[in-house]
């Protein structure tokens, strides 16, 4: 069976993504962990591209890699890193937890429903699922109510972050 270019790209992105995830979970220094998570996010963005979700790949890079990780890096500047690094990296029961995690992966591989392979229905009018146009029209027609509710979620998050994070003034 000939291996297509898409499969080679997938193999690279998957291997690099898994390696990044392992390194992100195991590095002692939180800054290194953040950088490996950044690498993982970029590879996942590549996988989104491969799966034909161009808009989400861009959002992944802008929001996840660009905004969320920057928040983490800023936060790391506020804490006492050398002291954190000196502490234990893993809990005492880490082999058990690792077993649970790997057990989850094993179950997920075991139950990958074989019927799904053939279950793809032929849609009547196959939309170009990658285009921003189809994404936007679905977002603002079919999903407009959840979209509006999202603005409330963001508002609550902004207010909550400010309220929780502000320094208490002496009353």
């Amino acid at each position: 069976m000939a291996i297509s270019a898409g499969q080679i790209v997938f193999y690279y992105l998957a291997a690099a993504g898994i390696a990044s995830a392992i390194l992100a979970v195991t590095r002692r220094n939180p800054v290194h962990s953040v950088l490996w998570v950044l690498s993982l996010f970029l590879h996942v963005a590549g996988l989104f591209l491969l799966a034909g979700a161009e808009f989400l790949a861009a959002v992944q890079i802008i929001v996840y890699a660009g905004a969320i990780l920057v928040v983490y890096v800023f936060f790391l500047m506020l804490v006492d890193l050398p002291k954190e690094e000196a502490g234990p990296r893993f809990g005492a029961h880490w082999p058990l937890c690792l077993m649970v995690g790997l057990g989850f992966a094993a179950i997920a591989l075991w139950v990958r429903v074989p019927g799904l392979q053939t279950a793809a229905p032929a849609p009547a009018a196959a939309p170009n699922t990658g285009s921003v146009e189809s994404f936007g029209s679905a977002l603002f027609k079919q999903f407009v109510l959840p979209f509006e509710i999202l603005s409330l979620v963001l508002l609550a998050a902004i207010v909550g972050a400010v309220v929780v994070g502000r320094r208490r003034t002496e009353a």
């Binding site: 297509s4 898409g6 499969q7 997938f10 998957a14 898994i18 995830a21 392992i22 992100a24 979970v25 939180p30 998570v37 993982l40 996942v44 996988l47 491969l50 799966a51 979700a53 989400l56 959002v59 929001v63 996840y64 969320i68 928040v71 983490y72 936060f75 804490v79 502490g87 234990p88 990296r89 893993f90 809990g91 937890c97 649970v100 995690g101 790997l102 989850f104 992966a105 997920a108 591989l109 990958r112 392979q117 793809a120 229905p121 849609p123 196959a126 939309p127 699922t129 994404f135 679905a138 999903f143 999202l150 979620v153 963001l154 998050a157 902004i158 909550g160 972050a161 400010v162 929780v164």
Partner: protein, 102 residues
């Protein structure tokens, strides 16, 4: 379809999710624990996008978009809480933090 079957995406997504879950449980540093949540969310996003492509509908991508927004909100609020805990206790080791108040 560029030749990548759905099951490959799902297997990769399961592995990434398991790594995130294992990291969430084994790490002692609160920030890294928090980052493992992002890792799990990303793994789930990947399977959403893969299903979206497989079934040729846009719904999975919309869901991924919503997950991203919620992840951003969660990062902002969660890090604010962690910052407050750090101010009060000057540590981020989860074993030393057994309650939110002093």
């Amino acid at each position: 379809m560029n030749g990548v079957p759905l099951s490959w995406y799902l297997i990769l997504s399961a592995i990434l999710f398991a790594l995130g879950a294992a990291g969430f449980m084994i790490r002692k540093n609160m920030i890294t624990v928090f980052m493992c949540i992002e890792l799990m969310l990303n793994a789930v996003n990947l399977s959403f996008v893969a299903f979206s492509r497989h079934f040729k509908t846009i719904d999975g991508q919309i869901f991924t978009f919503f997950v991203m927004v919620v992840a951003a909100a969660e990062a902002a609020v969660g890090l604010a809480i962690i910052l407050t805990v750090f101010r009060n206790r000057s540590t981020l080791q989860v074993d030393d933090i057994d309650s939110l108040r002093l």
